[in-house]
């Protein structure tokens, strides 16, 4: 590949903390004046360098088909001043070093294969997910399907601050649902059938949580439900299919985040049926937008810390029997042991 000559000036506005406005053509023949925050909401993220932006593409669940990938590889070199894409931590492909005057042709060409631009700023972000049960041996639910549903229905909804949703197919939780504003993780309740069990003890060895103990004489298992993580290892390991799938659904976590001061999200429901996921998302966003009124850029976790009982009561009708009894409110994860004097900001905490 031939080396491109890059002529880049740094954006002085950045140091001066000014918010310049620029004229951009996002729709053909329609030039509009945007401030940078508005562009950011459209997935165009200002860089250090003058007039250059990173264009974030919408890749829900990190799944990009070859047709789109080819198109991205085709338009990238045309409009980017560099020779690479950046894969964001939230699974989206980003094309850096794009001049704002190229936004229209770039987005038009990507649209030919249905590749959309993502978003940034205070709204529901592109949801992330693992491969789920489709081909991952540990996966318990089809998180890619659910991720697609979330992307179609809830992407871009305005909130006080960013609102991140992720899905993990099993309790290994590669997608860190506890660090999300809202997270869903697959789970299966194991049920045991005494008649078909031959007391082989494999389940006791397969259980990584120490929840299953086998009788010393008969080998028949007993399960301590307080230790069970709903991972289904016992079901998969059982040679006689005596461990079977009971309820199947989602562990729901809310209020988490990463960043300077990470917060551990709270489990509010277990084994929630998949078809109730949408209702839960709508209700959580409704609560967030209502209780966040007038509070400015504040994450749901911060509001939850101050209004936890109100939230739990609000969610109760939707969660029903799946609600966790006495859920604990989200709390800070201490990661900076040297920062001994830090206290949460009472203004933000509201």
């Amino acid at each position: 590949m031939k080396n491109k000559k890059i002529d880049i000036k740094y954006d002085r506005h950045l140091e001066e903390k000014r918010r310049p406005k620029i004229e951009v053509e996002l729709e053909k023949g329609k030039k509009e004046v945007f401030n940078l925050d508005q562009l950011k909401s459209g997935g165009y993220i200002r860089q250090r360098q003058k007039d250059l932006f990173t264009v974030r593409l919408r890749c829900p669940g990190g799944r990009v088909n070859f047709e789109k990938l080819k198109k991205i590889a085709e338009v990238g070199p045309k409009y980017s001043k560099k020779d690479y894409v950046h894969i964001s931590v939230r699974q989206s492909i980003e094309i850096p070093y794009v001049n704002y005057q190229d936004f229209l042709p770039l987005s038009k060409e990507l649209e030919e294969v249905g590749q959309k631009i993502a978003s940034c700023g205070p709204r529901v972000r592109v949801p992330t997910a693992c491969s789920g049960c489709e081909y991952n041996p540990n996966g318990l639910i089809d998180v890619q399907k659910l991720c697609h549903e979330i992307d179609q229905k809830y992407f871009g909804i305005q909130c006080n601050h960013k609102f991140k949703i992720s899905l993990s197919g099993c309790p290994i939780d590669c997608f860190r649902t506890n660090e999300m504003d809202l997270g869903f993780q697959g789970a299966i309740e194991p049920l045991w059938d005494e008649e078909t069990c031959n007391g082989c003890r494999i389940c006791g060895y397969a259980c990584k949580e120490g929840a299953i103990t086998n009788d010393s004489k008969t080998g028949k298992p007993s399960i301590d439900r307080t230790k069970c993580l709903y991972c289904a290892d016992c079901i998969r390991a059982c040679p006689t299919n005596s461990w079977r799938e009971g309820k199947k659904g989602l562990i729901v976590r809310v209020g988490g985040r990463h960043g300077r001061h990470p917060v551990n999200g709270s489990v509010i429901a277990t084994l929630l049926p998949e078809d109730k996921m949408g209702q839960v998302i709508e209700k959580v966003i409704e609560w967030y937008n209502d209780r966040g009124k007038g509070k400015g850029r504040v994450r749901i976790g911060d509001i939850l810390m101050g209004k936890w009982p109100d939230f739990v009561a609000f969610m109760k009708p939707v969660l029903g029997e799946h609600a966790v009894k006495n859920p604990q409110k989200p709390d800070y994860i201490k990661i900076h042991s040297f920062q001994t004097g830090w206290m949460p900001n009472p203004i933000i905490e509201g």
Partner: protein, 77 residues
């Protein structure tokens, strides 16, 4: 009544996932309906090998505990 194995593998001291790979390769050489006897260690091997054998579609017809080892009888499907 226990069926007489058609083949056997002693996988004591063989770690995961080599023990499963050896089991799988042996099963591939066998005919449908034949029985493979496998001896594996307790701990990680007993947690993983039967699960993987089951996921390959074969049937575990017997599991027997012998001190620190397990004896499996697997029917090739």
């Amino acid at each position: 009544m226990e069926r007489k194995p058609d083949a056997n593998l002693d996988l004591r001291g063989v770690i995961c996932p080599i023990n499963f790979v050896k089991t799988k390769l042996k099963l591939e050489q066998m005919k449908t309906g034949e029985i493979l006897e496998v001896i594996i260690d307790s701990g990680e091997p007993i947690a993983n090998v039967p699960r993987s054998v089951k996921e390959e579609g074969h049937k575990i017809v017997k599991v027997e505990k012998l001190n620190n080892h397990f004896r499996l009888l697997i029917e090739k499907i």
